[in-house]
Each structure stands twice: as C-alpha cells, then as structure tokens.
Symmetry: C2
C-alpha cells in the first residue's frame, strides 16, 4: 500500500531530512538516508534493510524499473509531492527516489565487530572529503578488496555525497571503524597482516618492488593534505611509496589510492 | 608599477571575466584566465607569458611568497578591490590572486603542431568533465607521461575548473588537440606508435599481460559514460582492458585512467 505525503512538515520527512544532514544522528539512530534511483536499487539488492521508500509521481513513471526492486524490499511506501522531494534532496536535479535504511550490517566497530577475513585490507586515516572516500570505496570494490578500515576522524561513509561517489560499494564492503591506531595495528599484526604505511619520499620501498601477492597486506593511506600521522607510520613499521618519474608529490589523494589498491591486487588479476 | 582597479566595469576586468567563462573566447583571443595563488605561481614558473596579474590587498599580505614570482613575470600589475575580485572569482572562497595569460605554447593542434616526441602518449576522447580532465592531466604529469592528445569534443583544458584540477600540469605538458580520429591514428602509426583502445570486456588484452616498456604506446581512453567511439576502437585495432576481480564495470573514469597511465609507466619507474 502506498501512502501519500503532501507536507514538508510530515514527521517522517523531517526525520529523513535530519538523517541526510547529520552524521551524529545517523550513528545515534543506526539509520541512514539514501537518494537516487540507482543507489536505492543497489541498497535493495544488498543486505540493507529498507524501512521506507519515498518517490514522486514523475519518478514512478521514469524509474519504475529501479523502483520495483526497492518497493518489494521496503517496509513502507510513500508517494511524495515534488516540493517534499525538493526538501529531501541534496542535489540540484533530484530523481525523486529516496530510501530510509537501517545501518548496514557490514559497517562495524573494529575489532569488536569481529576478526576480518584473511584477505587484503586497506586502512584509510582521517580522510576528509566524502567524494574521495566514496571513490576509494568504489575502486576497492571494483578491484576485489573487500575490507576497508576507517581510522581516526574519517568523514562518514553514509553521508549522501559519500554514498553517491561509492556507487553503493558501502552496502557491500566489510567496513570497520577504528578510533585509534595502536589497538588496530596490534590486532592486524596478530592476525598475520603485514602493515605498510603509504608515504611520499625515498626512504620507503617502491610499490613496484613489492610483491603483495606473497603476503597478507594491510596498506594504510592517509589524509588528503597531510598524509598519515607520524604515530600511525611508526606503528606500521614498514613504508611503501609510489615512484614518480614526473614532478614529485603531484598525484592527488584519489589517484595515489587507486595505484596502491591496484598494486595490492595486480598479481591476483588477469 | 601597480595600478588600482576599483570598478567591476573596468574593461580589463570585463575581458578577464569573459575569458574565465568562455572556451570560445579563449580560443579566439589565444588567452586564458587563471585563478589562485599557487596556480598563478605555477604559470609564472612555466613558459606561459603572463599579460596581467590581479590581486587584492589581503592577498598581497597572505600570498606574498607566491605573488613575488608572478609579479616578476607579469606585464602589468593591478591591485583590485574585494568586490572586483568577487566578480573575477569562480570559487566561493577566493584567494584574490588572478592572472591573464597568453595561450600555452605546449597546447597545439595535431599534427600540424609538429610530430610528438617519441615517448608514450595518451589520447583522451570526448572527456566531458573538466575536473576529470584536469585530474588525468595531473596524474599523467606525475607519472612522467608528457604527451596527451585531446580528441573530438573534449572539454577545454584551460577552463578554470580543469586548470584547478590539473594543478598546473596544463602549463607543462605537451597537449595536442585533434578533431578526428582517422588522421590522428594514421599519423601516430606512421610515427611508430602501437595504438591501444581501452575498453571494458573480455575480448581485450588484460593490461597486466601487456609490457608497455617494450613498445611506444599510445593508449586511447574514452568518455566517462560511453567509453571510446566505435570508430576510434576500430582505428586503433588493438584493445586493452583492466581486469577486475570485484564487481564488473565499477571503476570510475578517473580511476580507470589512473591505472592505465600507471601501467604505461610502471616498468619505467622504481
């Protein structure tokens, strides 16, 4: 059954709008808000529980194919007017499809969330830009790296921007949140991981000289502007770098991450 | 000598604002407009001729280190009021440093601009997003790929967004503009290049099976949404692909380009 929402003051709409805006509220309520026909469909096709789906009349006509999967999985359906969709949307040209979702089971604290599987792992420290974070998650998934740890004060992977850039990778990866590096590094080392801090500079091992396929690697990648913290680099012990033949230090954070993720899986592909 | 500009109606300010907005005008006048302390300094340190430099009083205090290099190379200096800088700026938080520059000598038509050097070359076809284009150019430079051809209807590498994302790589690369693929491919092949079309899918050679260091490669990369045109793929003859172990087709355009550029230089680094 489809209910109608005609007012921006509808309590459920207000809740959803707050969830879209606030990382703190998402953590508190263990829910998040998701926008876009394709992204909502990705949520529906994953293990994510969908509490409510909102869509406009126009979206029902235009995105019926995507909506079908979402509607089947959703606890409640709401047809919303355009001006209500305008309030819910974080984009200029909204598709008019939204979901209120339960917290992904794959997104947990580390290590209380359980021991990671024995497969390559990426640790992102203090990543600030949600677009960057989402892109790295999308690339990790595409290259078959299934475990990512968000260390320190990373931005929220469930923010609308991060979700959009991740193309739904957030729904399918094993994502762990770790507050501080020391227990994380200890735990990973005990589990048999070889810890590598990605740094610029010559004292590090060029990634081209490393054969990741001969080990269980955990590669630590730092913040866009400042790289990894000194503490984390020290805890990792081993350093890896991307050799550049051109101008030094001119890869952006996202390109550097792509190369490291690719090298982690390079020998496993093809 | 520093002149003062207090009005948004100043003819030079108006010219500069039009150049920032219009790719057509940039081509016509063979000039472009550049914003940002760091980027203007990069222009000054390259071969770019700087016709005029504009800066605010605040910028003079805050970005003196960058401005010095620019002022030495600039034909004319203008101290502009904040509201004038606001008109010139394409960003929300302007640094208040701008340059009016002559067309880069490294940006030329192909092949009339001369035979490319015998070094690896990337061809980008119909890239639409200036941020993507700038990022790919920045990555190419960082990895030591010095020649890039912009084929078909690529967006303008001299637009403010592309310049910003490129971190000035546009000033230093050899950039060629090519209208259509047929003469370009003929010319490259005659010059000894091995032409590779980057495509998704299984009928292509996995990039991990290719040793680019044994050849003179020209790798063709297509548009964000649609990839290369069928015509260009046919003209290249050879196809290369990025093997993915995760979800298929889920690398974004910029990540895919990064991996291909990296593989082109991988054996030459380290």
């Amino acid at each position: 059954m489809v209910s109608r929402i005609t007012s921006r003051k509808n309590p459920l709409v207000r809740q959803a709008a707050v969830l879209a805006d606030s990382a703190g509220r998402r953590r508190e309520e263990r829910r998040f808000f998701c926008e876009g026909a394709r992204l909502c469909e990705e949520a529906a096709r994953s293990e994510i529980a969908i509490e409510a789906c909102f869509f406009t009349e126009k979206a029902r006509e235009k995105y019926g194919k995507y909506l079908e999967a979402v509607q089947q999985r959703s606890g409640a359906l709401y047809l919303v007017e355009e001006h209500v969709a305008g309030l819910l949307s974080g984009t200029k040209t909204s598709q008019g499809v939204f979901c209120l979702c339960a917290w992904p089971q794959g997104l947990r604290d580390f290590p209380t969330g359980g021991c990671p599987a024995k497969s390559p792992c990426v640790v992102l420290e203090n990543i600030q830009d949600p677009g960057n974070l989402g892109t790295v998650l999308r690339t990790a998934e595409a290259l078959g790296i299934e475990q990512v740890v968000l260390l320190g004060s990373c931005c929220d992977p469930l923010s609308p921007k991060a979700l959009r850039a991740s193309m739904g990778a957030v729904f399918r990866l094993r994502l762990f949140l770790a507050e501080s590096a020391e227990p994380l590094c200890g735990f990973l080392r005990e589990a048999g991981y070889s810890l590598w801090a990605a740094v610029p500079g010559r004292e590090a091992v060029p990634v081209t000289n490393l054969n990741f396929s001969g080990m269980l690697p955990a590669v630590f990648i730092g913040n866009e502007g400042n790289g990894l913290t000194a503490e984390t680099i020290a805890l990792c012990g081993q350093k890896v770098t991307i050799p550049m033949t051109g101008r030094a230090e001119s890869l952006n954070a996202s390109a550097a991450s792509t190369i490291l993720l690719w090298e982690m899986r390079r020998n496993g592909t093809g």
